[in-house]
């Protein structure tokens, strides 16, 4: 097997998730009842045999460091290779924005790593992908860069769109076009040689350019053989609060649940040692995802309950996402609501959001 390293680039626009990213980087946003966004891309990399993963962080990464710990859950707690969290480590000077500068700051990490090939990805694209197949495709096409995309006909204004010729060679790249003609939506995953990535980063930096896609790829499109690899599986692109809510609800389809959590490999996450979920005598729960540590004695429909949620008698919950350790006291009613961690809803309280505009209650709020 080829020796490949992974780069997870957390220099992502996070503001779009509003309150959920107030105090955490996008990769640390909780999803799917017990995961954080980064778990998917990191598990995909580990499942493809990658043993050296560098995580480039920019800000608000404390929750992420807590979550990743020593990397043990991903079997990346190694003496040689392993998991590297690479903070910007500023010293006095002003910060630029953009991923080029962050990548450049850790040039020595690339130099030190033994691997020749890099998979670089963000955390906003939730999927269960077999990177080995994409790597084989990359070799077969003898590509300089392979970009991974999926077919999607949604609004394109938050997506990067590829134009491809009949041989799957990328002939054009548009970042966030208002009206895209094509439906080849970038999954923001790139395979290339480490050497080429380092050259592109260096080239951009010395020209004062800041963005890997706009400056590194688009401006060099004519000199590079960039190929598109189409991923046909389920993809949840978490680029807005509405998308977060919509894709979360999609997990209540057992086929998507099966595909996302079991298809090409398992999804690892931090372990909490919670007891199994406990259902009381008055529990009425249907069409729900429920994590361990929950204690439920009320009615819950079409919802996702993270670890350690407590739901008392007489409570009625519909179409909501309740994050870790939320506590819902007797006779409260919630619909179309997202509760961040450690929220307490007191007795008899009613909250109503809309699927198109879910109501988000911030971390540790008591309402």
């Amino acid at each position: 097997m080829k020796d490949v390293m992974g780069i997870i680039n957390l220099v992502e626009p996070a503001e779009l998730l509003k309150d959920l990213t107030n105090h955490r980087t996008l990769g640390a946003v909780p999803i799917g009842g017990r995961y954080r966004l980064i778990d998917f891309v990191l598990s995909n990399m580990v499942n493809a045999g990658l043993r050296n993963v560098g995580i480039f962080v920019q800000e608000q990464y404390r929750a992420l460091m807590d979550h990743l710990g020593t990397g043990r859950e991903w079997d990346l707690n190694r003496q040689r290779d392993g998991l590297f969290i690479l903070p910007p480590d500023y010293r006095g000077e002003e910060r630029n924005s953009g991923d080029i500068e962050i990548l450049h700051r850790h040039y020595d990490y690339f130099e030190r790593s033994r691997q020749d090939t890099v998979i670089m990805a963000g955390t906003s694209m939730v999927c269960n992908i077999d990177y080995q197949k994409a790597l084989a495709y990359h070799d077969e096409k003898n590509a300089d860069i392979t970009v991974i995309y999926h077919k999607s006909r949604g609004p394109s204004n938050l997506s990067t769109i590829f134009s491809l010729n009949s041989d799957q060679k990328v002939t054009g790249i548009q970042v966030n076009p208002l009206h895209a003609k094509e439906d080849n939506v970038s999954m923001k995953m790139y395979i290339m040689s480490k050497q080429l990535l380092m050259e592109l980063v260096d080239l951009c930096l010395c020209r004062g350019e800041t963005d890997f896609v706009k400056d590194g790829l688009i401006k060099n499109l004519s000199q590079l053989n960039i190929y598109g690899y189409c991923f046909n599986g389920y993809v949840a692109s978490i680029n807005s609060l509405q998308a977060y809510y919509k894709h979360s609800m999609e997990l209540l389809d057992p086929n998507i649940w099966e595909e996302l959590f079991f298809r090409s490999g398992l999804i690892y996450t931090k372990v909490k040692n919670e007891a199994p979920a406990q259902y009381g005598h008055k529990a009425k729960v249907s069409n729900c995802l429920v994590a361990n540590g929950c204690m439920i004695d009320g009615t819950v429909e079409n919802s996702i309950l993270f670890r350690g949620v407590r739901i008392q008698k007489g409570v009625h919950i519909k179409g909501s996402i309740l994050m870790q350790r939320s506590e819902i006291k007797e006779n409260a009613m919630l619909e179309g609501v997202i509760l961040d961690k450690d929220v307490v809803i007191t007795e008899g309280k009613h909250l109503l959001g809309d699927p198109g505009y879910p109501l988000v209650i911030g971390k540790k709020t008591v309402l």
Partner: protein, 391 residues
Amino acid sequence: MMNKACIAMILAGGQGSRLGVLTKRVAKPAVPFGGKYRIIDFTLSNCANSGLDTVGVLTQYQPLALNTYIGIGSSWDLDRKHGGVTVLPPFVRENGGEWYKGTANAVYQNIDFIEAHNPEHVLILSGDHIYKMDYAAMLTYHKQRQARATIAVIQVPWEEASRFGIMNVDDQNKIVEFDEKPANPRSNLASMGVYIFNWPILKQYLEADEADPSSSNDFGKNVIPKMLASENDLYAYPYSGYWKDVGTLDSLWEANMDLLAEKPSLDLHERNWRIYSVNPTQPPHFLADQSIIQDSLINEGCIVYGLVDHSVIFPGVRIGKNSKIHDSVLMPNVTIGENVIVSKAIIGSNAIIEEDCHIGQGDPGDEQELTVVAEGAHIKSRSKIATTAQV
């Protein structure tokens, strides 16, 4: 290496033959319990939560599942540089090898291991009891009384006392007599099989016990009575709380059902005394539109389309449409087809029950005997399994 004030030795070698088909391929401490755990998790978690970081696990019977499960101990935070968990199987010396003959002999054969840590005290534990206990508090008690040995005891119902090793104590909790399974018990204080010894004293008794050809080399039968005969300062440490020896299929089933009370006396949610276990990599469980769940424990990775009532469901279980599970324990990765009824049963790991089966003797609520389906069994559709015999 640092001098370890106290190290723990967990006796996990027993076959547990009264658990029948459940221990055909695994030792009793490795039997699944409580929707998530294996029995030994409770003892290991007690050690971790009590701040003990050097633990020997004495194995002998079918140790592979247990070895693989305990692994490097990281699930219990016992993957330490010095100490941590060490699995101690029997081994060969210059003059040949010897299997463990009894609980005392098992510890005797590992005197080298214990001496390597140079402890003041040794805590002897069983790997097959369900309870939460702070051994550090018991050690403090032991030290305060300057005891030679301290034995944890629990009050059992008088009518059951003759099944246990019974302590008769004075008003200072000093042990004056020990009866192993007495016909006419004079006390209802049963030994929990949790002992703290001063190591130099224990070593001496282990050596004497080994030299005695008539001994069956057992703590309860031999070492403790001998100690009582010649030492003064043996104390009972009274424990009150949930404690269960899951030595039979019925008691294993009961202990599982105990968890389903509205306020179970064994609280698995306590944040300051977590029960650690190896966590399988599974997503949250999925309950379908038509599912009905009550008075139950359900772990991650399950998909439920049917009804689950007063049951304990381990990870990875699939329950088909219109199936009904009552008063039962479904171990990991059991698959239940459609229109199945399961009533007062333990279904072993990876068993497959095809559609339209009826497992169990009668209807829920009836007085029934327990039915047990073996690990990996495959029950064809439209079967009726309703015997006390284990499939």
